[in-house]
């Protein structure tokens, strides 16, 4: 028993564990944070297991069954069927897949790029800082949806282009956030100590400063996942994102608008599905913000 504890102590100090426990208590004190974690976890599980749990996996593509078109919600089709007779629940489940892939790709590209630029700008300062931040400010001067529209418009409208378009401007937020964090860390004693010890610039940026910026970044990523999903859905809704017959959630809402209000379920359920997922990310991100006690502009 005692040897086990000491092994654990060697890996994670009791003080560290105490800190984690307190953070967790702060997180768990808000029912909405827990709800957010459950929603995000649930949707990720649904998306991963989509081929297994979707009731009609064959309805994902250009399948048609006009005899069953516009069935209202029933036991066989809990969310009804669309104009081609496809099960909407199945398509929503696969739509979640596309939405999460979009968020993962955009943030997977945008966060590392932005963080690196921000670290360089914040730690180096001077004209490098000024140059990087001018470019960043310029990108920030346009609503992401408009820029994404402009970029998406000059190519064929596909989800890949939409992802590229959104990713190509998402790094700016991380550049700005990381730059602020890095600049505030630059004069901290541990950085000066590392400099005196002869550590290289890359080491200081990546191994000293970056670990101290992680909590605000994590909060920002969680909150951003919701915004990226909203932006992607909006692009799809306009017709510049996921193309039919692929089951993009925004695409499904758009295709259902011509059948409102009689066949309301075609639009309303996919729209509600987006809302639930984004709400989950926002509540989770807010909980994490309380937990790490950091300020992040949204």
């Amino acid at each position: 028993m005692s040897t086990e504890t000491s092994t654990l102590d060697r890996i994670v100090s009791p003080a560290q564990r105490e800190l984690w426990y307190r953070s967790y208590r702060r997180f768990a004190a808000q029912p909405m944070s827990i709800a957010g974690a459950v929603i995000v976890g649930g949707v990720v599980a649904i998306a991963v297991l989509a081929p297994v749990i979707a009731p009609y996996p064959e309805h994902v593509g250009s399948y048609t069954d006009f005899a069953n078109a516009f069935s209202p919600p029933s036991l066989a089709h809990p969310l009804g069927t669309d104009s081609a007779g496809r099960d909407i629940l199945t398509r929503v489940i696969f739509g979640y897949r596309l939405s999460l892939m979009l968020a993962a790709t955009v943030l997977g590209i945008g966060v590392p790029v932005g963080v690196l630029l921000g670290l360089v700008a914040g730690y180096t300062g001077g004209w490098v800082d000024a140059a990087i931040m001018r470019v960043t400010d310029t990108f920030l001067a346009l609503p992401p949806l408009v820029l994404a529209l402009a970029i998406a418009s000059v190519f064929e409208p596909t989800i890949e282009i939409a992802i590229f378009a959104v990713a190509s401007l998402w790094w700016t937020w991380y550049a700005r956030l990381t730059r602020g964090l890095a600049a505030s860390q630059r004069s901290e004693q541990y950085v000066q100590a590392a400099e005196l010890a002869g550590a290289g610039r890359v080491h200081i940026m990546l191994r000293e400063i970056l670990p101290n910026c992680l909590s605000p970044l994590l909060v920002k990523v969680t909150l951003d996942a919701g915004i990226v999903i909203l932006t992607g859905a909006s692009l799809s809704f306009i017709g510049l994102g996921v193309q039919p017959p692929r089951p993009g959630l925004g695409t499904m809402v758009a295709s259902g608008t011509s059948f409102l209000p009689q066949q309301w379920w075609v639009s309303i359920f996919p729209g509600f599905a987006i809302f639930v997922l984004v709400l989950g990310f926002n509540m989770l991100g807010d909980g994490l913000r309380d937990m790490f006690d950091v300020e992040v502009e949204q």
Partner: protein, 329 residues
């Protein structure tokens, strides 16, 4: 501010000239012959070196020449000025909803911290931020437009008035008054309510939350305690002393949101058939009308920069301790 605008012009230029394959090809469509494309490219100056093209484009921009829209065949600037009032009317109204509903909700929530109302507002604010604007727009249309039939579903004015009201300013609320028709004026309002409300939702959630948290911050300050100690009524302290100080972060957010609403307007205008700038922008995207798209992007960027500058000025006026941050706008 100047540098931001210069950067913006380079960015928009890059989007229109460097990224795509060939604007002339896009303008003429896939079926045009190579000769036709080459001819138009020469006419548009596309065979010049890029720096020369940029100088041409900038000198056009400075005198307000944004080229011709390939879709409407009008000068882009003319189109933009024609469409802009409808969009400005929409986003201004949305901003008023955002502030008029969001700030009071945030203040009351802060004063009932931890209570039922506070929690309900919190849930509402979260939902408002998370809901896709096209979804809430559709829900409003179906609920308030179709089932309850309180408001019209599309357009800016009912057919029976649209003939009678001529265009003076392009702002329908103003034009109907100038025309002297109260019924048309009311009609214009009823067309404006749903789209503006749908557009305001996301921002409203942010305004509620930031107002609440800055009120909570300010309530703990000494000068608030002191004014309570003097026996000044609680509501008076809240509205006269706390809110004035708590409003500073809120105002910063509102300035950002006003320009962001232009992005949201892209969606809401489509759903409500609102004949504004955003709808023009989306059409220019779908028809690859490069000149029009550059114009729309430029106008939006310009509004963003200018709005932030104005907000800085107002902040300076409210709180002289804030230093005007030179060219950060």
């Amino acid at each position: 501010m100047g540098i931001s605008l210069l950067g913006l012009s380079v960015l928009v230029f890059a989007i229109s000239r460097v990224l795509p394959g060939n604007p002339a090809r896009m303008a003429l469509g896939a079926r045009a012959s190579e000769e036709q494309v080459a001819e138009l490219a020469a006419e548009m100056g596309l065979n010049q070196p890029l720096p020369v093209q940029y100088v041409d484009y900038m000198s056009g921009l400075l005198v307000g020449d944004l080229g011709q829209s390939l879709q409407t065949r009008n000068p882009v600037l003319e189109d933009l000025l024609f469409k802009l009032p409808a969009t400005l009317e929409l986003i201004t109204m949305a901003t008023l909803f955002m502030v008029g509903i969001g700030v009071p909700l945030g203040v009351v929530a802060a004063r009932n911290r931890g209570g039922v109302f506070d929690n309900a507002t919190r849930v509402f604010a979260f939902s408002a931020v998370s809901v896709p604007s096209f979804f809430i727009a559709i829900v409003f249309q179906v609920a308030f437009g179709y089932y309850l039939d309180w408001f019209p579903i599309t357009g800016r004015l009912s057919l029976e008035y649209s003939e009678a009201v001529s265009r003076y300013t392009g702002f329908m609320l103003v034009d109907t008054l100038l025309e002297g028709s109260i019924t048309a004026h009311v009609d214009a309002w009823s067309h404006l309510v749903l789209p503006a409300l749908a557009l305001s939702f996301g921002g409203m959630g942010q305004v509620i939350r930031i107002t609440r948290s800055s009120m909570v911050d300010v309530e703990g300050k000494d000068f608030i305690e002191a004014s309570r100690g003097y026996g000044i009524a609680g509501w008076l302290v809240a509205y006269k002393y706390s809110l004035k100080n708590a409003f500073i972060p809120t105002l910063t957010i509102i300035g950002l949101l006003y320009a962001w609403l232009l992005g949201g307007a892209f969606i809401v205008e489509i759903v409500f058939g609102w004949p504004g700038l955003a709808k023009y922008g989306v059409q220019s995207v779908l028809t690859t009308d490069v000149n029009a798209l550059v114009g729309v992007t430029m106008v939006i960027g310009l509004m963003f920069v200018v709005t932030n500058f104005i907000v800085d000025l107002i902040l300076d006026w409210i709180d002289p301790r804030i230093q005007l941050a030179g060219d950060t706008a």
